[in-house]
Symmetry: C2
Subunit: 420 residues, 2 copies
């Protein structure tokens, strides 16, 4: 069963605003077996809007729109769809009273233009919107459905879940979308695809999307099926094959972020962590503390850009910095060991590198990063050369550091096995 989404609003045709409602709507529609086959973004113009809805009605049984239900002259969705379907607009006094009450609750008087939002096309069902003034509308035309939803995501999302989804579920096909997400770090996109491609291409009924961001590759598997058992078996077979091919490079099989996977390991092992960062400038700490309850495993960290602070806070001997350079394996190790000692944490992470764009040399080009993890079983150090701009280098470095912590727990504090 196919649907189209029409996002209404001239601001969605500017360079700084984008329709994001359709991502939410697509995810929810897919879950109940409805596929989105087209998205259209149109401005607040009667003729263009009319054409968009008319064309969609010629193609699909389900049309969802967002936006254009507000009180201003620019809000034309309601009127245009009523005109297209040849329905009269009738003022709904209950809606008027709801809008008036809403304004009163803010200590304000309802202005006249808000009455537009109480105009309901004949035969439409109201979708009440407790988080805004404009109600949504559900219109049936023969076997087809048009749902008009408000534009603001905080109004659209609950309204859709509470009132549109149940109505659509009654019409939805037996099948639904099954989805799996794997996340990989430490391998580039083409490397992942080289390893995973021969697997997923064997399953033409599964739609695979490979998405890359700095330091991370996501593999999304999607499968439409009316047979939940068949879908589960198929996806499990792909998962087994991916597990063999990508092994410890897969850090998540449920879409969790790397920081939340690491947080989980730290909590599970009653371990604490501290960091001494240079080139990542606090990004590692920021990511470790983005998780609610992070104070259970995160005690503190330092960002030591200057050599003096590397010595003061992480006890890196100034002679070592002079001898080896601030960006060196030895200083990374000293940072990790020093911050672990200073904080008294189970693990200490040290990061030093050149994020760029300046500061590189032939010997130590931009992107050179040394990362060390000190632990009760010793210290491990990794030298990496990342590609990309400053933000990408910093992101990849924080990702690599988190991954070293993950591997520490995966291998029980021992060195990872060497692959043949």
């Amino acid at each position: 069963m196919n649907a189209e989404i029409i996002a209404v609003g001239s601001e969605l045709l500017t360079p700084d605003r984008q329709d994001t409602n359709s991502l939410f709507l697509t995810a929810e529609l897919n879950k109940i077996g409805i596929e989105v086959v087209r998205k259209t973004i149109v401005g607040d113009e009667r003729a263009l809007l009319l054409e968009a809805f008319r064309d969609a009605l010629n193609r699909v049984p389900i049309i969802l729109s967002s936006g254009g239900l507000g009180p201003t002259e620019d809000d034309l969705t309601r009127e245009t769809v009523a005109e297209l379907l040849g329905r009269k607009l009738i003022r709904d006094d209950a809606v008027v009273r709801t809008i008036e009450a809403r304004f009163r609750s803010f200590g304000r008087q309802m202005t006249e233009n808000n009455l537009r939002q109480a105009m309901v096309p004949e035969g439409a069902e109201l979708l009440t919107n407790p988080r805004g003034t404009a109600p949504g509308l559900w219109l049936e035309e023969g076997d087809q459905v048009i749902a008009l939803l408000p534009g603001p995501p905080r109004e659209l999302k609950p309204l859709f879940l509470e009132q549109v989804l149940p109505r659509l579920q009654r019409r939805a096909p037996a099948g639904r979308m099954f989805h799996r997400e794997f996340r990989v770090t430490g391998l580039g996109e083409s490397h992942v695809d080289h390893l995973a491609g021969p697997i997923y291409t064997r399953y033409p009924e599964v739609q695979t999307t490979v998405l890359a961001s700095p330091g991370e590759v996501q593999i999304h598997l999607r499968m439409w099926s009316a047979d939940a058992d068949h879908a589960a078996k198929t996806l499990a077979a792909i998962q087994r094959a991916l597990d063999l091919a990508l092994a410890e490079r897969i850090f998540s099989r449920d879409g969790s972020s790397l920081e939340s996977v690491v947080a989980h390991e730290l909590l599970q092992h009653n371990a604490t962590i501290a960091a001494a960062e240079s080139c990542t400038g606090g990004l590692l700490a920021e990511r470790l503390t983005t998780i609610p309850g992070s104070s259970a495993y995160f005690l503190g960290s330092v960002v030591c850009y200057s050599n003096e602070l590397k010595t003061a806070w992480a006890g890196v001997p100034s002679e070592l910095i002079t001898a080896k350079g601030a960006v060196s394996p030895e200083v990374a190790v000293a940072l990790a060991q020093g911050i672990r000692r200073a904080v008294g944490s189970t693990l200490g992470v040290g990061i030093t590198g050149i994020a760029g764009p300046g500061g590189g040399s032939e010997e130590k080009p931009v992107g050179t990063v040394h990362i060390a993890v000190a632990s009760p079983t010793g210290v491990r150090e990794r030298a990496v050369r990342f590609i990309g701009d400053r933000d990408m280098v910093r992101m990849q470095a924080s990702q690599a550091a988190l991954d070293m912590v993950r591997l520490y727990f995966l291998y029980n504090g021992q060195a990872p096995p060497v692959r043949p």
Copy 2:
């Protein structure tokens, strides 16, 4: 002059991938006076693609598409548009050689399916793509233009700028889009709109978009005009009025981020900065160091979640923490003064608060944050209660801290004037 953008690709109709090329294309088109009136996102299906291009040809003189030019069976844009325009596809041997050379440069053999990318519709101009295998195509049909661009942003952007933009410029109208962006912090979206609305609504020829994110409101002004002088005067008049209404709440008039504005002030004043963060977990340091060359003003900072580290690193007396609580104005001040002393920086910032979701109490609810800035002229402290989830509280707190640093320079280290 109007254009439509068609984004081609079934992956753009999944919940995890979004067309972003159109934002770039819109910004560039607007600059030369071309307005985007519709965006369509369609999957890799012949009939739907054909309809999308046919309908667009019935509406606008300029059509840009992205995607569907690759070597696989799913890549149908080239064939479909050739069919729609009744043009034969002819293999271009020069393109074949370019693709073969590209494969050789990677040490690989070109596979047969890549030949699809060398098929060119009769009369089309090739848009060479040095960053990918598939060339873009420029097709003219009467007065209308269709430009087929590759999907990957890193291929599309330079190809568009180098080869499509100059061609479009020759057809573009005399007018163009004039754009101004103001950024405001310390006021909510509705507050900004209350102050700015009466100004910008007086200028119906200027399209205004107000965008809010945690701790920041952006005001975008857009104006189409063939008269650059008139546009400059109109936008300058709005700017003067906004400057009066929003005064020091405007931190940027050119779209700069708050961290880059603060970085600029620090550099201008030869000042250095250090921070002791608690609830923001390193976010302030991360933002201060995101700017290239930040080591000129940023020496270091600490994230001290635990009370012991507040004492060890920022010299906060443990009795003070016991007496006042870790989240208190006194501890924020002690953090700011302590880190300034420890690092020897011009400015010291202290942040302590409750980011949530746990840890709140009736007296100190989630969102309570104390921020202090210590300087050669003394110390200033601010207590704020932010609304929102953990990420939003952290973002707003880092924004408020940066803003206090900005105001320190704006008022030459003196207290901001009290408004009547």
